[in-house]
């Protein structure tokens, strides 16, 4: 009669990838300043300042106190510092309590901790709601007319 919780509510568990210490990853230290088109094939860990553009197909970690003044392209990102620029993340974006983002954000999964500050447009691809277009039309008409007058039907 009753199904176990796992069967009744199927959910996909997601484990964020962690920066492996065995892999040499790109690390920008706290008093290091990087200027230009900063690109890496591996994980990037930013503790200092980066200006220009940042690009990686893997994980970008921005630590608290770090500052990025650039457009960011990354596979995944965990942000605890400040970013001024647009962010295009192909998978998961996590904003921790100390994160400050000033720019448009595009990602697939968004995790925002209480206290994180974000100013910009958020777009997440892959959203499909059944009948969305029709409902949208109706609501527009309602808003315009303010009553249940349907001129089209």
């Amino acid at each position: 009669m009753f199904k176990p919780a796992d069967e009744a509510m199927p959910h996909t568990s997601y484990t964020p990838p962690e920066a492996s210490h065995d892999d040499i990853e790109t690390v920008v230290g706290p008093s290091v300043v990087v200027e230009g088109d900063f690109a890496s094939e591996g994980n990037i860990l930013v503790k200092g300042t980066v200006s220009g553009s940042v690009k990686t197909g893997r994980l970008l970690t921005v630590e608290e106190g770090a500052k990025i003044l650039a457009n960011v392209h990354a596979g995944e990102a965990v942000v605890s510092g400040e970013i001024k620029g647009n962010m295009r993340i192909s998978q998961r974006l996590e904003l921790t309590e100390s994160a400050k983002i000033l720019g448009d954000v595009s990602c697939k999964i968004l995790v925002v901790a209480p206290g994180a500050q974000l100013q910009g447009k958020i777009s997440m691809g892959g959203i499909a709601i059944e009948g969305g277009a029709k409902e949208k039309k109706t609501s527009r008409r309602t808003r315009m007319s303010g009553d249940v007058i349907d001129e089209e039907e």
């Binding site: 040499i24 690390v27 920008v28 230290g29 008093s31 290091v32 230009g36």
Partner: protein, 253 residues
């Protein structure tokens, strides 16, 4: 034909037992060969080229990290298979290559598991282990794409190829993979200079790269494979698959 290049320090009698053991094991395997003793100012490239002309097919370096760097910094241009028998202290490269120190290295040599390794190149010579620039006011430009500078003035730079970079601060150890198609640069800005000019460094910044230009207003010291020079601008590049090397099964790449 095998040619063995013995480092000068192996003349010391404390190494007699190890070397006798090595030579006996090599004779057992039937791979014993000519032995040459390296002098400090010997140009390894001329020496190796000469031996190749005489029919050498494998050049075996016998010694430590310094011997390895000394020979390959010049002889990396030679078209021959290299091998390594680590003897004595200061052998960190052997560990990366999966070669045990002492007599057991002969077993690895006899198996002849060969791989092509990347080496670093700077100002017309190769470096296989490590390039080091002591704290200087340098600006680094990577792959002609981005520049790296320090908010404080001086930075120390270490470029690793085969020799692992060990950061003494918290005992972290980064093992560099010679086959990854990149060189790794470790930059450490000086945070504080204390008594007796003892410097405190920040945690290292790490950048993998293929080409890097280092410049400064004043000449800075460059140490590569044990050799020191003063430069104002250097270009460091990666020479992919430059040397063929006999490696062990327990190698770290």
């Amino acid at each position: 034909m095998y040619v063995y290049l013995y480092d000068n320090f192996l003349k010391h009698k404390r190494y007699n037992t190890v070397l006798t053991g090595v030579e006996t094991r090599l004779t057992d395997y039937g791979i014993a060969g000519k032995i040459l003793r390296l002098q400090h100012y010997a140009n390894a490239e001329i020496l190796v080229e000469d031996e190749i002309r005489k029919g050498a097919q494998t050049i075996v370096i016998v010694g430590n990290d310094a011997t390895f760097g000394h020979v390959l910094s010049r002889a990396a241009v030679c078209d021959v298979t290299f091998a390594f028998i680590p003897v004595g202290p200061d052998n960190t490269i052997a560990d990366v290559l999966g070669i045990p120190v002492g007599v057991d290295a002969c077993d690895v040599l006899a198996r002849r598991r060969k791989l092509r390794l990347d080496v670093g190149w700077f100002n017309n010579r190769y470096f296989v282990s490590q390039l080091h620039i002591p704290p200087s006011d340098i600006v680094v430009e990577y792959d002609e794409k981005f520049r790296v500078a320090s908010r404080t003035s001086a930075m120390e730079l270490v470029v690793c190829n085969l020799k692992p970079f060990v950061w003494q601060g918290k005992g972290n150890r980064y093992v560099v993979h010679p086959q990854d198609g990149k060189l790794e640069a470790f930059l450490r800005p000086v945070v504080h200079t204390g008594m007796f000019k003892r410097e405190t460094f920040e945690a290292p910044s790490i950048f993998p790269f293929e080409e890097m230009i280092i410049s400064a207003k004043k000449p800075f010291v460059v140490e590569a494979d044990g050799k020191t020079s003063k430069e104002k601008r250097i270009t460091i590049k990666l020479a992919k698959s430059r040397i063929e090397m006999v490696v062990g099964r327990e190698r770290q790449f």
